[in-house]
Symmetry: D2
Subunit: 382 residues, 4 copies
């Protein structure tokens, strides 16, 4: 095994859900060592958080720009950085690292605005460094198998896509209680972007639909609501989708649906068969060849394919979950980074969400907001 990749982190201090997830994801396969961080926006907190994580004091920064500058100069400076801040900081933070050739692993959505997304996409295209977006649900083995099955024509021509992502944690106005940091920035357009639910989870749903089906969106019609009084962003979104080539779909994202924890689910129907996958039961993929009984394909078990097996760590019946799926994005990134370091091409089977996927996601949010503002008019991606 090669040396571990030296990783830095921007954001992800105490109380930050997603920072801890990235750290575990980076650790599971032993491919990364977290050695530096700008974990918080205040220097003192940043140092505290760094100490808790075992970072050396001189690798704890109060500012991501300072971190980028210094780490780029260190002989054993970071080779990659994970950006896990609120959305509006993704662009400025990523910029500092990309332009110094440090690989970026960035949380989704790509940015909080479409102009930022475009600038970042350009930056990434121009940089030698890799840009990896953690649309983590594409890391689930059975999602990858679903994608392959569609690509290989086992469902025939795709006609209908049903994708949904209901949650319930914003059913009440928790963002006003002062007790829930997550809800505060995620419902603040200045930090989160114009999309609330649509940006936070709708982008995941849209990304998953595109990833699995390989389809390209043509137009959408969105009806977005803010059910909780005083909420500044949408908390429930209904979207009708028209894909190029004739397939149609529906997308539902909600954060006000009591009884739903993290209910991302996709169903794809073609001329020859159907597929169903749900994030809360990720080791199973339902497959129905038209006219035959439903089959339950299990990760690691009968019906699982090489594409799923390659990103699995345990045999069938030993459930893998969210963290393993997330770790697969990190593992794929590691393979790409090592190839780049070795000066060899990135292996053809490496799959991770790119800055282009991220740009598409931000354009999707933008289109939903535009459509909804025009009474659910059909609009294309800008």
């Amino acid at each position: 095994m090669a040396e571990r990749i030296r990783l830095g982190m921007v954001g992800g201090g105490k109380d930050a859900f997603i920072g801890a997830v990235h750290r575990i994801a980076a650790r599971i396969d032993g491919e990364y060592d977290l050695v530096a961080g700008a974990l918080s926006s205040t220097p003192e907190k940043a140092r505290d958080s760094g100490a808790t994580l075992g970072l050396a004091p001189d690798r704890c920064y109060g500012d991501f720009r300072e971190m980028a500058i210094r780490e780029a100069r260190l002989k054993d400076g970071i080779e990659a950085v994970a950006i896990v801040t609120p959305n509006h900081l993704h662009y400025p933070a990523a910029r500092e690292f990309l332009k110094r050739g440090i690989h970026v692993i960035c949380d989704k959505p790509l940015t909080s605005t479409l102009p930022d997304a475009r600038k970042l996409a350009k930056l990434a295209a121009d940089s030698d460094a890799l840009f990896v977006l953690t649309h983590n649900y594409t890391g689930y083995p059975m999602v990858r198998q679903a994608r392959e099955m569609v690509a290989q024509g086992e469902l025939g021509q795709i006609r209908v896509v049903q994708v949904e992502y209901p949650q319930d944690w914003l059913t009440e106005a928790v963002e006003t209680t002062g007790t829930n940091k997550q809800s505060e920035w995620r419902t603040d357009p200045a930090r989160s972007g114009a999309g609330g639910a649509i940006g936070d989870i709708g982008t995941h749903a849209f990304n998953l639909a595109c990833f699995v089906t390989g389809l390209t969106l043509d137009q959408l019609s969105a009806d977005m609501q803010s059910f909780v009084e005083g909420r500044r962003v949408d908390d429930n979104c209904h979207v009708m989708l028209r894909f190029k080539g004739g397939a149609r779909g529906m997308l539902w994202a909600s954060q006000v649906a009591p009884g739903n924890e993290n209910g991302l689910k996709i169903r794809v129907y073609g001329t020859q068969g159907g597929l169903e996958w749900a994030q809360e039961d990720p080791n199973r993929l339902w497959y129905t060849p038209f006219g035959e009984p439903k089959r339950l394909l299990t990760r690691g078990g009968a019906g699982a394919r090489a594409v799923a097996a390659r990103v699995s760590r345990t045999p069938g019946g030993h459930p893998e979950g969210y963290l393993e799926g997330f770790a697969n994005i990190y593992a794929e990134a590691a393979r790409a980074i090592r190839a780049r370091q070795a000066g060899t091409p990135v292996p053809a089977d490496v799959i991770y969400p790119t800055v282009q996927d991220g740009l598409l996601g931000v354009a999707f949010v933008d289109a939903c907001v535009r459509s909804s503002a025009k009474g659910a008019a059909w609009v294309g991606l800008a």
Copy 2:
């Protein structure tokens, strides 16, 4: 027990799925005797079918008008008639019986056209006879409980309704094979109406959403497709719903979704809780009071209420199904008919779908067709 109600049937000869269902539904509780029929449009076939069902030869008619005329004159003529023909005959058949004071139990959708629906609604309003529409899914005990729970405010104010009805039996062009009678008339606009999937099953979904939530539709936006080449009606429909009072919803009806048999499902979310019910697992109702664990309410078991128990025949764990739910419509109709016969008011707890529900359903189909033709414009019910 009073004498059984003398029942006639129009349509429902050999090979007719829904006729047999009505007959079983009428038999389960022993409230009806089938004594006459115009079971087929050709006299000979009508007689054959009648003989198979044990009807006396002189009560087998080749024409529903002849049947209405003669039965109305008989001393022991039919008291009620079940109309189970293709949709375009519902109106002319119902007319003959209603105007002679014979109670009508009619399959859905009410009619194949909106003008017919309006005429029938007027006729029914003016008739002494009862008109019962078999939107049978409202007969399921746990659907009735769901309705009551919403009505009693246990979900708080309703925000979101997700309803869907996917099937897969029209994935291929079976209507052209000459082997599937059902598919022939159901995809023929002259017999079925302008709506295909939306009329056949979308109306059920819409009816269920209204029944459970008590909400009134304000506007809808529909995107309908005909995926199978040469098909003359829609086979997949995406609809966004706006209800009066601010609730929003999505409705999906499809007959081209492989792996779905009869997947009617409804989910309702309010400020204080959520409900989920699926037709293929009808004895169970999921209920989540916001912030508490999900609860599995079972027909006949813990969590079932009087409103469900009243229309149940077996204890918890002894599954009841489609036929029992259908039979509940017949049972409620019997209670209403007996009250009418006795000259007493229909008991307040009798629930069955009315001609107004049917008119609403046909208006819904009409609105979907209009909306879709205008590129999914928002339209109200005409």
Copy 3:
């Protein structure tokens, strides 16, 4: 359709759960007319119950012997009788009808004692009348399909059978509260027999295991408990099974398992595959050919076979339940009765539980009781 079969009923007055079930089962397919009854052990109550059911006053009897004698003499007397009394009366009641050539449809278990069961088996063998035992779970279409799949060798040689039947309604001592008639006689050895849970539901489980697998029991070892203080019969039973030919099994019957309503479930494993079926989800049968993905076979849908289709009334996705399964026993009995009346052989595909199955069930209860009394010693059926 031929004339309906004239049916009488012994037991099944008000408050009797199983009597109502038999009546619905007899009605669903329109094959029987209930015309006489000895519905209760007191003449007055018998008449009241009869009136409620629409029986003519002179066909309501206070005594089953009187009923048998008189009905046998009537020109239009009953052709068959349903016996739905507590267990200890099955034998004396059946005897009166069998010896007069009236077909008997009898609830399970066959009798409350093994000597009675043997006498009844002999009587039935010597009678021209048919004897049908309502081990109703064998009427479920997918149970029949499971049986056929095993018989046709699709699972290879059977190795392991897991069958269970948990309920929770006797978790507390309801039989002492005076509010639950069912619990009173079912926990009274004089009326129910020596077995409590093992007789009431364990016999169903055992019957189902034999029906599906076609195996013959060699020996069993039973550990029975009476968990509720003061209860006179077992309420929880653990049994290990050894079948002839080497297959092994476990059987669990319980009436004190909170959260279980009517959880009859069977799993069968052979050298080439496995099957799973659960009574509360009866339209589905899981089938796993060894080394391949699990398949969900659905009644009326893909994967269902002729043997299941023949006893189905609705297409896939339209759930059938307990009453339809029960009705299938009545429908099969009707076919046999009509054949007998016509003097033709009973069709080869008619399947119903026989007096021999019933004798086996009572012998099973007897063996369990004997084994448990000897500290779970291995015993064969007497």
Copy 4:
């Protein structure tokens, strides 16, 4: 964060399923660094495997005794060792480390023989070093919650325990094909012990039953089979359990049940309620207070308690799996090791399976083998 704990590993070279699992489990929370290993029984292979894992060449040993001796002398030698060899080596390997004060994390079952287990238990008791047994299923958050709910009396007095662990991977004689290393040693009594399925997975089931209920076994009656011709150990086991205090149970372990991947499942029933948990759906715990609807308690969601939250890494709806549960054993071990290193008491809430649990497991296997040899006689643990 303190320095990582220096970890060694015995066994777990290439192709070893469980070694990789232990390594991931040790990495997830960043508490351990793997720095030494005797990964294989041949020196060359050991070095190869070590190199693949990034171990320094001088920390790769061909022999666990050599490793124990040298590491104990190194200033930065290992502080803990993971033993993941076939069962018969657990005792000799653990002995070398325990007697040198190196903490041991050992795979289950404790040993291949009861005498070894007793010797190891004594050694562990006499050692300053900790001994942690990876009965990993006790690491699942909802298993811990189940245990707490039982302990706090929420189910009332426990009456019935149903535990099962079916798999299907030994349905055929894979151990004779030369292609499946796992099956070779696991069906070899010399390496695995006298128990096959009962030792490999039955011990997990027994451990889980004891862990959740807190009950102590009194006697058992076991009927064990070897269905595959030529197999030298059991591949299917039926066991009836009698616990002290009157509770009863059944345990089924099988490796020949097609369609089962890793189906560990436990159901516990008491006077006031029931619980159900299945390893393949580990984030959910079903709880039924008697007489109320079933509730679905979810890890991280509504109904989860502090005892589950403490060992969770993600919010509700973000599934955790087998590796996270396994990692919880490592995390608990780390807390205990750090306390020991600090000279402070191990925190009261640290929970991990001990050498005594392991001894109980081996005694359980021994008792099953003895019982089965005597025709399923009741026996106690030796």
